[in-house]
């Protein structure tokens, strides 16, 4: 229960326990498979329906609803709906914005949070306890409780810009990329994940490096971080998913089309007369990147979600 690593060990131990294998063989019956398959259908049919419908013209989608054809790519299959999506909305722009915002949030988050965790877990300095409890305190407060005061606050925040060769202060972060990224870089849970992972790396490594004259940053960069790949993967996934899926925040802070992320782009389709085919195509389009990532790294995805429960 103490850290990410123990849960991994737990997985392996349970897998090799002989009793477990004997007990579970009883489930491997026809009925067991049938029940699990019915559940699989329950979880998959809406997704299949979305992808299949995105390939059909509207009248055929509705005509097919009363039969199993609703889930089969048959009839007039084309990519017309996708073409329509790109004609209606700047979908490439939305995708590029979401990719940029998510990647930057992940990259900056990995650096900022791992550095903080390194200082908290491996270095001695006064005030460490206070900082650590302050960070832990942020874990229990959901974003929705302070989103609206935060909206007011970011509208007042300053930013330095260069104009005609002069440095100038501007105020208000609304309608920028930074307002979609910077508030989400520091994350208590990422710090906590790194903190517990770092404590599994022997401190003797640091001490040896210190004796050889390595700086603290050098120890962080060349010893501790290279050994913390699994923690970085978990943090990256747990930062990427909410960043890609952000809806409430960009809905409030981004007004102009060119800075809008994919999820807020959905609004376009509801404002026009709803054309379901293109709508399904857009939904499929913004799902495909995450689904592809998930299917290629599913072990890491599920592992990171599992480790998020370890904080209990």
């Amino acid at each position: 229960m103490a850290s990410v690593t123990t849960s991994r060990v737990g997985v392996r131990r349970a897998a090799s326990a002989p009793t477990r294998r004997r007990r579970d063989r009883a489930f491997g019956t026809f009925g067991g498979y049938l029940g699990r398959t019915v559940l699989a259908v329950f979880f998959l049919f809406p997704i299949v329906f979305m992808f299949v419908s995105s390939l059909k013209p509207d009248d055929q989608i509705f005509a097919d609803l009363s039969s199993l054809r609703a889930f089969l790519p048959v009839g007039h299959i084309s990519l017309d709906n996708y073409r329509d999506v790109f004609d209606r909305v700047p979908a490439w722009r939305f995708l590029a914005n979401s990719i940029g915002v998510s990647v930057l949030t992940v990259a900056l988050g990995v650096v900022v949070n791992s550095l903080a965790a390194f200082a908290l877990s491996r270095m001695q300095w006064r005030g460490r306890g206070v900082v650590l409890s302050g960070i832990i305190a942020t874990l229990v407060v959901p974003f929705e409780t302070f989103a609206l005061p935060l909206l007011w606050w970011v509208n007042k925040l300053p930013w330095l810009v260069v104009q005609n060769g002069q440095l100038l202060w501007t105020f208000g972060w609304l309608d920028t990329y930074r307002v979609q990224i910077i508030p989400f870089i520091a994350n208590a849970f990422s710090i906590y994940l790194y903190y517990s992972y770092f404590s599994t790396i022997p401190k003797e490594l640091d001490e040896a490096a210190r004796v050889d004259g390595a700086s603290w940053f050098r120890i962080y960069r060349s010893i501790v971080m290279p050994l913390s790949g699994p923690a970085t993967a978990t943090v990256a996934i747990l930062t990427f998913l909410p960043a890609w899926n952000q809806f409430l925040w960009p809905l409030m802070v981004v007004q102009s089309e060119d800075k809008r992320p994919v999820m807020v782009g959905v609004q376009y389709f509801f404002q026009l007369n709803v054309a379901w085919g293109p709508m399904m195509a857009y939904a499929a389009l913004i799902t495909i990147p995450v689904l592809a990532l998930f299917l290629s790294f599913q072990r890491a995805f599920i592992g990171s979600i599992a480790s998020s429960g370890v904080k209990g």
């Binding site: 229960m1 849960s7 737990g10 131990r13 349970a14 897998a15 326990a17 009793t19 294998r21 579970d24 063989r25 067991g32 699990r36 329950f42 809406p46 979305m50 419908s53 609703a70 550095l115 903080a116 200082a119 300095w125 005030g127 900082v131 302050g134 960070i135 832990i136 229990v140 407060v141 959901p142 929705e144 989103a147 609206l148 005061p149 935060l150 909206l151 007011w152 520091a186 208590a188 710090i191 906590y192 404590s199 603290w216 899926n245 409430l248 709508m279 913004i286 799902t287 689904l291 998930f294 299917l295 599913q298 599920i302 979600i305 599992a306 480790s307 998020s308 429960g309 904080k311 209990g312």
Partner: protein
């Protein structure tokens, strides 16, 4: 959450013969440590502690999102207005309704799924992956997809007719005040249950196999093994799942915004939805802060009560 984090005992008092050098090294350690933690601390202060504080402060003012004047202190005005606002009570009722249904159903369903995929049989990973697919699908995508499926002539009604051999007539799910919330509840559980399945699974796999072996030797059947080995072994997982599902349920927003916009007849308006409508739609930051503050207190109270109920009884 604090109980797992042990503050490592300080190594500051280690005896060291070479004191001058040690002090210099320690000084650089202190400076480096603070420098490393500074970016995270500054960001958390600016984007967490200040907004949380502002939530308290602004709810006693008349702050507006865009206003030529600064906020002025107005005492309890926002709260008197809030507690006499029928929409607030309705939103609160809807939020509690959503939570009261979702929390037990979703955590129970997730546990059943976790038990099903905790088996060592061929192909089990495929099932685990499939059950998890809705979790990686954005709630926004899921909401538009199900809005389509919930149309009067949509997929859900066609399926209901097919399954019931035309005896059940469908409903206009999202446009009827009595079916809108149940429809959103069903969809929300479908989307999020895989997440908690994985967390239950992680808990299940920390239970040592020899406990099951011992129980089996004592002649315990499937139910008794669950009741006396699995269930007690999941105590920590249980309280974590309860708290996270409850907080997520109380924060309900995206589904509402996309599927019903609070309607019909405010039957799906929630506390967060109302806060966003006030603070963003009507630019009344102060009123929205008051709603957020009440929401914050509810979340806090609920998690304290749950922590107390699921506390370590030893």
């Amino acid at each position: 959450m604090t109980q797992q984090i042990t503050l490592a005992p300080s190594a500051r008092t280690e005896p060291n013969p070479d004191r001058g050098r040690a002090r210099r090294a320690r000084g650089s350690e202190v400076r480096a440590g603070r420098a490393f933690v500074a970016p995270a601390v500054v960001l958390l202060v600016v984007f967490f502690f200040v907004p949380v504080l502002l939530c308290f402060v602004l709810s006693f003012t008349n702050a507006r999102l865009v206003s030529p004047q600064g906020p002025q202190f107005v005492g309890l005005d926002n709260f008197t207005r809030l507690f006499s606002d029928p929409l607030f009570w309705k939103s609160l009722r809807n939020t509690v309704y959503f939570g009261a249904v979702v929390v037990p159903l979703q955590s129970g369903f997730a546990l059943v799924l976790a038990l099903l995929i905790n088996a060592r049989i061929r192909g089990i990973n495929v099932y685990r992956t499939v059950y998890f697919v809705p979790v990686v699908t954005s709630i926004v995508v899921v909401s538009i997809l199900w809005t389509f499926m919930y149309q009067p002539d949509g997929l859900v009604n066609h399926l209901l007719q097919a399954v019931s051999l035309n005896t059940v007539q469908g409903a206009d799910w999202l446009n009827n005040p009595s079916t809108a919330m149940p429809a959103i509840i069903a969809m929300s559980i479908w989307q999020a249950v895989g997440f908690h399945m994985v967390i239950w699974l992680a808990g299940l796999q920390t239970i040592p196999g020899d406990l099951y072996e011992a129980a089996e030797l004592d002649g315990a059947g499937t139910w008794h093994r669950f009741r006396y080995v699995t269930w007690p072994g999941l105590r920590a997982t249980r309280s974590f799942i309860l708290v996270t599902i409850t907080i997520a349920a109380l924060s309900l927003f995206a589904q509402i915004k996309i599927m019903t916009n609070g309607g019909p007849l405010d039957s799906t308006s929630t506390v967060v939805f109302q806060a966003v409508r006030a603070g963003y739609g009507q630019q009344q930051t102060a009123y929205a802060s008051a709603i957020s503050l009440v929401f914050f207190l509810i979340v806090l109270a609920v998690s304290l009560v749950q922590r107390f109920l699921t506390r370590d009884k030893d």
